[in-house]
Amino acid sequence: MSDTSGSGDWHRRTLEHRGALFAVLSVAAIAVGSVVELVPMFTVDFEPEELEGISPYTPLEVAGRDIYVREGCYLCHSQWVRPFRSETVRYGEWSRGEEYAYDRPFQLGSRRIGPDLHRVGGKYNNAWHYEHMMDPRSTTPGSIMPTYPWLAEWKVDPADATASVTTLASLGHPYEASVLSDVPAAMRAQADEVVADLAASDITVEHDDEIVALIAYLQRLGRDGRAKIAAAEAAAGGEGSP
């Protein structure tokens, strides 16, 4: 085939003979969309009032979240209620962007093999979660969720949890100095409450069992956002609210 054949010849002469130029242009082609879409998200931060009422996860919840990530719960559960009536009736208030401000890595998910979990905090009591995680069929016949009995056996490593919390703090998550100076103590205080609550339902667990941390995380989900949305609605509406 000769170099001068037909239309498109300009492309051959100007680009296909110059590998380096071709490479540069192909990167330029993908740079445009990337810069336009991503850079505004990097530069625009949340306003302080947007973040009001949204707090970072406590150390115990961080440990629980690490377990959630490890077990791949996000592959069956979304944390993202869409603004449709069918979803707000089923799950609760739709998810606002700022509610995820302290979510690293994000857990929005892409599948709903099981139900959305963004508003699951407070939906059930701790004992329900314990039973459900040990055997989902005990609370919900017909479930296809796996059993997670090892969560009642395996222990949270305090050093590991400390590393997570201090790293998140270094990325800007606001923690009190007292929490950062003794992460295991902060975990212990919150864990003891869960342990006592479970004991009231005749369930015996240790404060450092993984299941305790996971329950603390699940019970936390969506609560800050929900409280904030309720407050905003009360302030704005007036007439509708009691």
Binding site: I30, V36, R96, R104, S110
Partner: protein, 477 residues
């Protein structure tokens, strides 16, 4: 106006050994990755299939499946095709040492993925789950590959860059950009890190990456393979040179914008969602341009489809590409996504692309290469049988997923006359999906069995070649 892959003069001793390496790795990881897919498919139909072992639960095996099929199966297939075709297109031998570092480095990354993901060591970002030390290793190996690749271009003995090379080049460069930007994270321990982005920003960066993993790992390099192997197998030049110029530039420019279609109706700013959706819809044009260019390469030789199983694989593969790139833009329309998102419909879409396009193109390419790397394929009949197993497997996989996806999507949103949810118990909807999950399992098993048959056929082929009694390799034309 047409063009075809230029051919090398009598080989200046190309390195076909490295091609054989990547070839065998493709077959091995293909079988492994699909086997894991079949296991997780079974777990959704029958949860006890995880045997109560933490490492085998759905949440831990699913990332192993996706990593194995995308980076190990499809990845090694692309490298096989690139090392074979680039040397011939450039008339330059690849660099022996760099090729070997690339090969063993990549297999090492795959093995380390298999040794970490089942232990729950993950970053939880879809298609970028691997922990930060492995991310570093990927970066190093990729740089080695890129050096090798661009050095072939630098040393080339032909003047112009054939269209397949454009697609390869865009693959090499864009994947590097995507990987580095998406992997930026602060290590907490040797096995855990937290991304420098948070919340919706993290989600946007990851789906910018995730969608373009589809675009620049599962699409552009496969289009490159199509542009090389389709004209070879059809023994005809590519249909239109001009079309390939237009669709290449339009495809790479548009694709990068499409990530937000994974985040429609989320907390992402509206304008980003709208832009993502609009560019996704526009993508149908360059995608179909590529499909037509591939299919019409067969113009005037359609009758050969009946007798040549390699062409069957390639043509069905390109057709599935057309189908999934029609479906994808439809699913990017907000209202349609409102129904499809989170459902098995997305899984159906994924696998019509993955099994139909990536799988079939890879199989076709491997069958075309085997006689050129070893000797005549041991059993030609099995090649046709594989084709039918794969095709029927894809249908048994995707049709139930589409049906199941629409079923669950409609059930989630159904209200009764009193204005209450018709199916308030989520688990009732889960139960409805069981038959679909079983059918998909059967389809997947059939598709896997086809791949196993192919592996067996290749083992016998290599044995034939080693035995020496068989005919000599088809000379590389």
């Amino acid at each position: 106006m047409t063009t075809h892959p230029p051919d090398a003069a009598p080989a200046p001793a190309y390195d076909d050994d490295i091609v054989r390496h990547f070839f065998l790795a493709t077959v091995l990881w293909g079988v492994v990755g699909m086997l894991v897919g079949v296991i997780i498919a079974l777990q959704l139909a029958w949860w006890p299939a995880n045997l109560g072992v933490p490492h085998l639960t759905f949440g831990r095996l699913r990332p192993l499946h996706t990593n194995a099929v995308i980076f190990a199966f499809a990845g090694n297939a692309v490298f096989t095709g690139i090392y074979y075709s680039m040397q011939r297109l450039m008339k330059a031998r690849s660099h022996d040492l760099l090729s070997r570092i690339h090969f063993w480095g990549w297999q090492g990354i795959i093995v380390s993925a298999a040794l970490t993901l089942p232990f729950g060591l993950t970053q939880s970002r879809e298609y970028a789950e691997l922990i930060w030390p492995i991310d570093l290793a990927i970066t190093v190996v990729w740089v080695v590959f890129a050096l090798n690749f661009f050095d072939m271009i630098r040393r080339r003995q032909v003047k112009h860059l054939y269209v397949a090379v454009w697609f390869y080049m865009s693959f090499v460069l864009t994947v590097a950009v995507l990987h580095i930007v998406n992997a930026l994270a602060m290590p907490a321990t040797l096995t855990r890190s937290f991304p420098i982005y948070s919340g919706m920003t993290d989600a946007l960066v990851q789906w910018w990456y995730g969608h373009n993993a589809v675009a620049f790992f599962l699409t552009t390099p496969f289009l490159g393979l199509m542009y090389y192997f389709m004209p070879k197998a059809a023994e005809r030049p590519v249909y239109s040179y001009r079309l390939s110029i237009i669709h290449f530039w339009a495809l790479v420019f548009l694709y990068i914008w499409a990530g937000p279609h994974h985040l429609l109706y989320s907390g992402l700013p509206d304008w980003v969602q709208t832009v993502g959706s609009a560019f996704s819809i526009m993508l149908i044009a360059p995608s179909w341009g590529g499909m037509l260019n591939g299919l019409l390469t067969l113009r005037g030789a359609w009758d050969r489809l009946r007798s040549d199983p390699i062409l069957k694989f390639l043509v069905v593969g390109i057709s599935f590409y057309g189908m999934s790139t029609f479906e994808g833009p439809m699913m990017s329309i907000r209202a349609v996504n409102g129904l499809a998102h989170f459902t098995n419909w997305v899984v159906g879409h994924v696998h019509s692309g993955a099994l139909g396009w990536n799988g079939m193109i890879s199989f076709g390419m491997l069958y075309w290469l085997a006689p050129r790397l070893w000797t005549k394929v041991h059993n030609e009949g099995w090649v046709s049988l594989h084709f039918w197993m794969a095709t029927v497997g894809i249908i048994l996989y995707t049709v139930p997923m589409w049906a199941g996806g629409v079923t669950e999507g409609l059930m989630w949103r159904a209200f009764n006359e009193e204005g209450l949810l018709q199916y308030p118990n989520f688990v009732d909807i889960v139960a409805r999906l069981a038959p679909f999950y079983w059918m998909r399992f059967v389809g997947g098993l059939l598709y896997l069995s086809g791949a196993v048959l192919m592996a067996f056929n290749f083992i016998l082929t290599i044995r034939d070649a080693a035995g020496g009694s068989a005919p000599a390799p088809v000379a590389a034309k």
